[in-house]
Assembly symmetry: C2
């Protein structure tokens, strides 16, 4: 084969791969494969001749070694909850899939050192529960936590709702075990807070979207469980007021400010209309809302006092027009549920063109003003539902189609609108992907917006780690010709 990556594996080769994991874990049945091929937004439709479910790092190593020797492309997959088509195979077919779903061992929970060692197949919610059982917190939290797996969360450097205080997945990981494309196993499962011994290989694999190797296990950081927790929902007049309130909240709360989420009026309307159990918690109507989340080490009273201080000061400064504070955990959960339903609530409203961008926090009002004007000029009547992690500068700038418009025609303008909105974010020093990654969705755009040397360096790393080009080809970087 002159260009093995362009050819589908032969039946004989598939048998060799299957023998590495045993027939029970080599899936070829169409119905069984379907959920692994379905990409979250339905924008991509990949196919695969076989899905492998290795039960150990050694089996992963055997698969990658054979893949490198035979030039067989391998697509690793975690919980398949990603939004950029990074974990599904390409449409052309021929990509073998490797699911980490059987690597679910939780080996060690150390409440003194605040670490947890687990397999890449563990589901986020299970890790959260296991930490809680040890009296500790694993703070990563996001909408898909019931099915997202640690390996995928690491490979996309997942963010979510607690990044403001605790950081992304990158900041929550101390060590990794990675199987390299050549089949070697790197054991970097260190539980150390400080370790300056050479190049930072860990952070190179985190966020690499499975293009440099397969993460098989990780050491995660745990935290003391806060004793105080308060969630409030504040009605605001403008994005600029939201920014001013964020500054005050951050100043008063310091690291106790665990969330500051921005939501528009239209998002509250969409969720109230379409999501069971969600209702507008206020009688009055406001153009913008902030969800403020505080976690304090000391006590429930400490958190209450802090929230009262922030809201009172915000009110006195004319920033907070109305506010409700969750009286208990159930009410707090309901407020977060509204926030997490912002994206799903757009579905019944027709097509939605989405963005996951970031700008420097101080630039959010300028970004919103410029983007709104440009989008409404391009698509009069478009319903902009921009929400997100204001404290991180991360806006999910989503646009629902005009009422009554043709959905397919609207969605056909996805890339055109992306280009308009991303140009505004980039002008302000922003990023075209804050937390979802690149995958297939933004691969070509990344190459366009980042200077040549940056892509060149990434390509050099890719070639150095994966000389056969087998690891998740065509994701993040274009496939080498």
């Amino acid at each position: 084969m002159t260009s093995p990556l362009l050819h589908a594996p032969t039946a004989d080769l598939l048998d060799r791969f299957a023998s590495l994991v045993g027939p029970a874990y080599a899936v070829t049945d169409h119905a069984a494969l379907a959920p692994y091929l379905k990409e979250s937004r339905g924008l991509y439709h990949g196919t695969t001749p076989m899905l492998l479910k290795p039960g150990s790092a050694q089996e992963v190593a055997a698969i990658l070694k054979l893949a490198s020797e035979t030039g067989t492309p391998i697509v690793p997959q975690g919980g398949n909850t990603g939004h950029v088509a990074g974990g599904v195979p390409r449409e052309a077919g021929g990509d073998l899939m490797l699911s980490v779903e059987r690597l679910t061992r939780i080996e060690d929970v150390d409440p003194v050192g605040n670490t947890l060692v687990c397999g890449a197949g563990c589901i986020l919610a299970d890790i959260q529960s296991r930490a809680e059982a040890a009296g500790r917190l694993f703070p990563l939290s996001l909408g898909s936590e019931g099915s997202a797996r640690i390996g995928g969360l690491l490979s996309t450097n997942a963010g979510g709702t607690a990044v403001l205080a605790y950081g992304n997945m990158r900041q929550l990981c101390l060590g990794l075990e990675v199987v390299l494309p050549t089949g070697e196993i790197w054991n970097g499962l260190r539980r150390l807070k400080k370790d300056n011994t050479g190049y930072d290989l860990r952070d190179l694999f985190i966020g690499a979207e499975g293009t440099l190797g397969v993460i098989t296990a990780a050491v995660l950081k745990l935290f003391p469980r806060p004793r105080g927790h308060q969630v409030a929902f504040a009605g605001l007049g403008s994005v600029a007021d939201a920014l001013a309130l964020f500054e005050r909240a951050a100043d008063h709360a310091g690291p106790a400010l665990t969330g500051f989420e921005l939501m528009p009026r239209i998002g509250v309307e969409f969720t109230s209309r379409h999501i069971p159990g969600v209702r507008d918690p206020m009688a009055s109507v406001h153009p913008w809302y902030a969800l403020i989340d505080l976690s304090t080490a000391d006590s429930a009273e400490g958190a209450q006092a802090l929230m009262a201080e922030i809201l009172e000061e915000g009110h006195a400064a004319g920033l907070v027009r109305n506010a409700v504070v969750a009286a208990n955990a159930a009410q707090a959960k309901a407020l977060w549920h509204m926030r997490e339903s912002m994206s799903p609530a757009q579905k019944p409203e027709g097509g939605s063109i989405k963005h996951d961008l970031s700008v420097p926090v101080a630039a959010i009002p300028a970004f919103m003003a410029a983007a709104d004007a440009a989008v409404l000029q391009a698509i009069p009547g478009a319903r902009i539902c921009a929400f997100g992690h204001m404290g991180d500068g991360n806006i999910h700038y989503n646009i629902s189609q005009p009422v009554g418009a043709d959905t397919a025609a609207f969605l056909a303008r996805w890339r055109e609108i992306n280009a308009i909105v991303h140009a505004i974010a980039l002008d302000l020093g922003g990023s075209i992907s804050a937390e979802h990654g690149i995958g297939q969705l933004k691969r070509d755009e990344l190459a366009e917006v980042r200077g040549g040397i940056e892509i060149t360096l990434m390509r050099r790393i890719k070639d150095a780690f994966d000389p056969a080009g087998i690891m998740n080809p065509g994701k993040l970087l274009a496939q080498r010709l």
Copy 2:
């Protein structure tokens, strides 16, 4: 030249390098070069034909381009405060030096986005002051902050005394500008909290000790200034008690615990004896001490109450035998000064064999017991002065020579004792360099203790970024033959 790296540059080539920065910034005078060649512990004695002081990233680029074309080794240097001989030239001579000391611009301080953009030559103390003037905190703090420069601090991923709450330099940096060995400039000066757009180049350059390129500028993170600050000094019975107290302090204070430093009795004696202005703050004598540092967002009273709670609980549990709380900023500074004088105070006591290691926090008592036994067996009468950042698992396990012993004969056992102590740390899952890095001092040992694949991956990265092998050769990795 068949092996250009082994030859010193010709006079003609030196002239070409000098012309890139102008004669005023191309130093060849022996007296003027001396401070750049002096390594902090006097273990290495390098020489150089010329030190270049570029005034811009463009001049750095011109230097590296010419170096790559001519195979001339370049050693970048910041404030020359490192402890592993990573920033001084090799003894063989022929290495050109590049100081970033003229890159001292502070371009942008954004108190809303909490970022500061500065040149790699800025001195840490100046950055701290500039942040303070903007009502913000830049938390990195270490003994040499009056002369250490940002470029060197990034290249060694410096730690210091506030890592527990704020992280190492890696966690305090959002973006970089780096000149590559080939002379290309990577502008990664992003001020974004979230940016998932490909491989994490930033973290690859941080901690690379100048072997992959020259960091010329950085975006640093700022923080709100805490309103409450408390420092206490507690007398303890054992390392195990110190660990138990740390756990309680972390549980009560959460992210408000900004420092938890361990010190032995002998360290308090050494500092009281040799460091002007330092005195034992307690009348009673204890085998171990902890310095506890709290920073709270809310108020001075909040920090006081929290410290009282931790000390009272520690006392009730039989962990804290005596404690003093600093009554004002001057007293707090005096307690920190004692801690920071632990290493210099060993100098008048003769030779000192040093370690900068880390283990999982929970393993510190086991490490100390095993290391003490092994060291005292090897060198009866050795005076172990082990202190450090307990909350980070980072112990500076330093050993002063026996009273009256021959200093040269004692120091001749440096590597033998390192091997004994490091083996114990590694057995416990530890690291041979927690915060100082590898440089020349630990280069060969790193290659021994880390599995082959890890060094292989680092070598592949090095070769991909620096094909001519000009960047700080022989540091971190052995020079390629």
